[in-house]
Symmetry: C2
Subunit: 272 residues, 2 copies
């Protein structure tokens, strides 16, 4: 955890490159006055204009028009666009950072003297309010000066800041995919199975609340329950039979059940 | 939803067959005086005695000693033990029910005039307090009289009671395995990946909170985020590479990512 100041001495001025969910939420936070977005760049001028209109700032789709006087350039773009953007941006002295979990700092280091990463570990959607304030921000920089800039700026967004290198950040991103995207898919499968029997998804919610609470409070490996961890072949077979008409779900059921059993054995034997 | 009375006219007297987690929690609830457990049966006399001592009731491991005067006989035993127990119990006129999600009512109907199922959709562990009060109870019976008995008794445990037949109950049980046991395993994998990089699992918790909140509030199929639903092959490949040393997790990563993409396509095309 990097030390933070809650009172910022100066107001950061930002050029924001991108118009997706992270860019949208950065604008929503800028409205609160903690920092100023000077300009929004997007390759799609309509997207740039639409987002810029929400905070009344300049916008462009030309790299040559990018404002050279910002304190920080934030590339909040799709992962596979970052390298292209980095090679097209004018060379600036100020810190250039991206916001991607699974893109290493190297992609910026080739082009900029001062650069870094500010990865908000949060699932942003355009239609929810400011969620930066509870998001852990994982920051990394190519030198101490850039790290200080990113740390100070991060403090405008969230009180939870961790200094994490690219390798660890990528592992955390994979972990987040399991803990969040994949958990959500498990709920999606449950939703479908319930729907197909005209059963209300709400019936599952108290149990989901309990499961979630347990994960928050303890080691999930120790909290594991269900037929797979008990190796209850009788139920496992019955469930696979019930999933006959859902071959993908049946396959996932088998794989995860096996993995639960294996992990539990390793845990019991003190190997994890 | 079956109509319930919050005030019970009579106090049910119960014979409890089993000494596992559900039996444990039934005893913990009985202490509050809403119903009376006359006797506990377990094939393991020490288990029967230990549980009986918590509520100061009779206990036995002999079927022939089972108290014939209870209002309700509750078989709270492992799924694959229920058939055996049912065929060994003395024939009684009172309602005999089991508490298993994936065992049909048929297993009791062969032996008893009045029978049913009372399945608490909750994950019980011995070391947590009364969780019946928030558990949906799925009840089923072989006739109206038995249904009324089970409904009245269920009202002593929880205000959430649903009348559900065996086929639907089993589908709900499978759905619960996905939504809970498998979600927990996704968190376990995340936990391990973090641990192996000396990263604190707590970093993931705000995002898990957000994901959970979304699942509670909306259709999880529509709330799906992450690289799989965007079909971001670049990140998917990178993540699979990062999971090289975890072949099981890599396999699960691929399967679930494919399933997320497929489900999203079906949803977009209005087929689910």
């Amino acid at each position: 955890m990097v030390a933070q100041e809650t009172q910022q001495a100066k107001q950061f001025s930002i050029v924001l490159i991108g118009s997706g969910n992270v860019a949208h939420h950065l604008c929503a936070t800028a409205i609160m006055g903690r920092f100023k977005i000077l300009q929004i760049f997007s390759r799609n001028i309509e997207h740039a204009q639409a987002l810029a209109s929400t905070i009344n700032c300049e916008y462009t789709n030309q790299y040559s028009n990018i404002n050279p006087n910002a304190d920080l350039y934030i590339i909040a773009a799709a992962d596979d666009a970052i390298a292209d953007i980095a090679s097209s941006l004018p060379s600036v002295k100020a810190v250039v950072c991206h916001t991607a979990g699974s893109v290493a700092i190297d992609v910026l280091q080739k082009h900029f003297e001062n650069c870094g990463v500010l990865y908000p570990l949060q699932s942003f959607s355009k239609y929810r309010n400011d969620t930066f304030s509870t998001a852990p921000l994982l920051i990394e920089a190519n030198n101490n000066e850039s790290l200080n800039v990113l740390n100070d700026f991060a403090g405008c967004l969230s009180p939870i800041i961790h200094k994490i290198n690219s390798e660890t950040r990528m592992a955390i991103h994979v972990a987040a995919v399991f803990a969040n995207n994949f958990s959500n898919h498990m709920a999606s499968i449950a939703y479908l199975l319930m729907k197909d029997k005209n059963a209300n998804f709400d019936i599952l919610k108290p149990l989901m609340q309990e499961t979630f609470q347990k994960i928050m409070e303890s080691n999930p490996i120790e909290a594991q329950t269900g037929p797979a961890v008990r190796n209850d072949q009788n139920i496992l077979n019955k469930h696979e039979e019930l999933l006959q008409s859902y071959p993908n779900f049946k396959d996932i059921y088998k794989k995860i059940s096996e993995s639960i059993f294996t992990l539990n054995e390793l845990h019991k034997n003190g190997r994890i």
